[in-house]
Symmetry: C2
Subunit: 352 residues, 2 copies
DNA sequence: GCCAAAATCCAAAGCGCTTTGAATTTCGTT
DNA sequence: AACGAAATTCAAAGCGCTTTGGATTTTGGC
């Protein structure tokens, strides 16, 4: 072996006959180094396979080129596969900019402390907040710490002083509900996510508003709220269909429980789109693919309000990187409208 | 504000009237410091909220207390939710030991280079290899780099010189196939994962061995192989049932495509467990919960070979941490047998 | 009470990078 | 040719921790 140790700044600068200062500046694009020498330095760095030590750079600058994602362990995020898609989108953006993800699993009640530690330790340059609750305390902490962050979702009304990216859940569910009402449905069930989650609360608001506008009374028995897993959709549907007056349409907060819904309907000898209408919120989960096609090719199975969670991951990552670049600008935020796609699971209600 | 800067070793040692050496040693459990002073140091560190800077420690020791997980971007791992469950299990173990996950998304062809960089940069203390191919080149690289790693799965036959943790896929599929044969099925379809993946190859071997033992000829038309997503199961089943002699039983490599299978059967007016038997490999995905219960409570819907991927994540993490502790021991490996649970989707074949 | 051995503790030298403040060179003017 | 400004380059001081080698204090056996 010729060299025992990995190439470092000192060796590189000696090889070039330049000072470490100049080499460092050349590589980091500072203006006070002549273009000619910069070219020389860059070439040599490339040739000698020099790459700066991240921990040394981090120690010197306080920047880590890492983005923190702290997610709940046994809770409602990691537990479901939405997170995988989100992180796939975000990770793609990070990779392009030379950032890495620092992933930490922790129960919600520890997350404040964790953000504090990550900030003090300068372990990450920014974080994204997953699954915001209504009035989430994490936001205040992060603002106080001066740590750049973007919330995926929101936890308060407009104009709040933080960065977020969200889908217009209220309007999406308003539209979906109104669509069903227009078809003639009046008994419309809502199989919602956990309503401590802000997004679920908004979805319910949209649902309730549409009902109210149509003068349809709210029936509490048609409302379910829980973690968005398959068996939940199944059980909720079984319960709903046992009511004296079962719903003629069901609004489901995710395709995961929606699959449980269809399974329950099959068990009951009912068909979605004929006996009962179903609309799902479709996050375009990759393992279902935008596919989840029905028997008719190119017509989606579910009628759905749809917004890609993977694209959301990308956008959140972009916003965060911008925020890290410019920490003192006004908070960025972005609200996406969901698509509304007609599939095979909706129809006017059956005549009795 | 009293203090502008975060508490560091120097400040702490001055506050204690001790040298930085002693304080550092006291906190890191070295033997050459008196228990009495160690107690004093620990108490003061706690009280003054001292936590060592990770980048400084990393620079000084070369250890980062990070575990690298590099996963394929647009490929077959992150794309499906198995990964989320795996990482949830692993992350739990890491958290207990004070490690964090460094997550990097990259196409397979770049992963060798990435491992090289992670090693040279000393960014991680170990890595786990996801989705090993048969004869995977990543293993050789990692061994050459001397980087501790554990493979989730295997890429070669027994006795290979690396750490791995795997489920006995061959035996699992052998058992499942034999079970169907014993019920009287002869036309058994296999809806497998991508057979470049080593685990899929093993599953097929188990399937083929069982057929051969029973003297049943292999029919290529009953074999499918692709990414394990829902629509794949759907389409494969539609294709299978259009054969002149459709299968009477289907073996599916994951509950994801298995859901597509049942959806296709419903569309065709067939019922799983009556008209066609279905056995799935169940990774106990959390969003389906061990539930995915059928109409009869506490009886699982699918007959399945079952092994929790989350538990696998935990175990792989444990093995890796042990490996990091003792890098020069003999390679650790572990083979788990899958459970075989009888659900509602299997029965003797229909008489014609 | 004495001395070697054991137990503690410390000063200082890195780890590899960035950055300050100063030195040196180059260049446009007069 | 001389001079101040502009353009380059550099030496050295951190960043906060670990660790080597040595200094100092305690201990134990006689």
């Amino acid at each position: 072996m010729a060299t025992r140790k990995a190439m470092n700044l000192k060796m590189l600068s000696e090889a070039l006959g330049l000072s470490q200062t100049t080499v460092s500046r050349a590589l980091n694009g500072f203006p006070e180094v002549a273009e000619k020498t910069r070219a020389r330095v860059v070439e040599a760095a490339e040739r000698l396979n020099y790459r700066p030590s991240p921990s040394a750079a981090s120690l010197a600058t306080g920047k880590s080129r890492m983005i923190g994602h702290v997610v709940s362990l046994s809770e409602h995020i990691m537990i479901n596969p939405h997170f995988a898609d989100f992180i796939a989108g975000a990770g793609e953006i990070y990779a392009q900019s030379g950032y890495d993800i620092l992933l930490r699993l922790a129960p919600l009640e520890e997350q404040e402390r964790i953000y504090l530690n990550l900030a003090e330790d300068q372990r990450v340059d920014g974080v994204v907040v997953h699954g915001p609750l209504t009035g989430d305390s994490r936001i205040g902490i992060l603002n106080a710490l001066g740590m750049p962050f973007v919330v995926h979702g929101r936890c308060d009304e407009e104009g709040a002083d933080y960065c977020w990216m969200d889908v217009n859940n209220r309007r999406a569910f308003h539209r979906a509900t109104k669509f069903l009402l227009d078809l003639g449905h009046e008994r419309i069930a809502l199989i919602n996510g956990l309503e401590t989650m802000n997004f679920a609360e908004r979805r319910r608001q949209g649902y309730e508003a549409a009902l109210a506008e149509a003068g349809v009374a709210l029936d509490e028995r048609l409302l379910h709220s829980a973690d968005m897993v398959e068996p939940y959709g199944y059980q909720a549907t079984r319960a709903l269909m046992e009511l004296d007056e079962p719903p003629t349409a069901i609004l489901v907060a995710s395709v995961l429980p929606a699959m449980g819904v269809t399974r329950a309907l099959v068990d009951l000898g009912l068909r979605a789109g004929e006996d009962v209408s179903v609309i799902a919120f479709d996050d375009c989960l990759s393992f279902l693919q935008s596919g989840y096609k029905g028997s008719a090719p190119d017509i989606p199975y579910f009628t759905a309000v749809r917004s890609s969670i993977r694209e959301a991951g990308k956008r959140v990552a972009q916003l965060l990187l911008e925020r890290i670049e410019t920490p003192d600008g006004p908070p960025l935020s972005e609200l996406w409208e969901a698509d509304f796609v007609i599939g095979q699971t909706t129809a006017p209600p059956r005549r009795r």
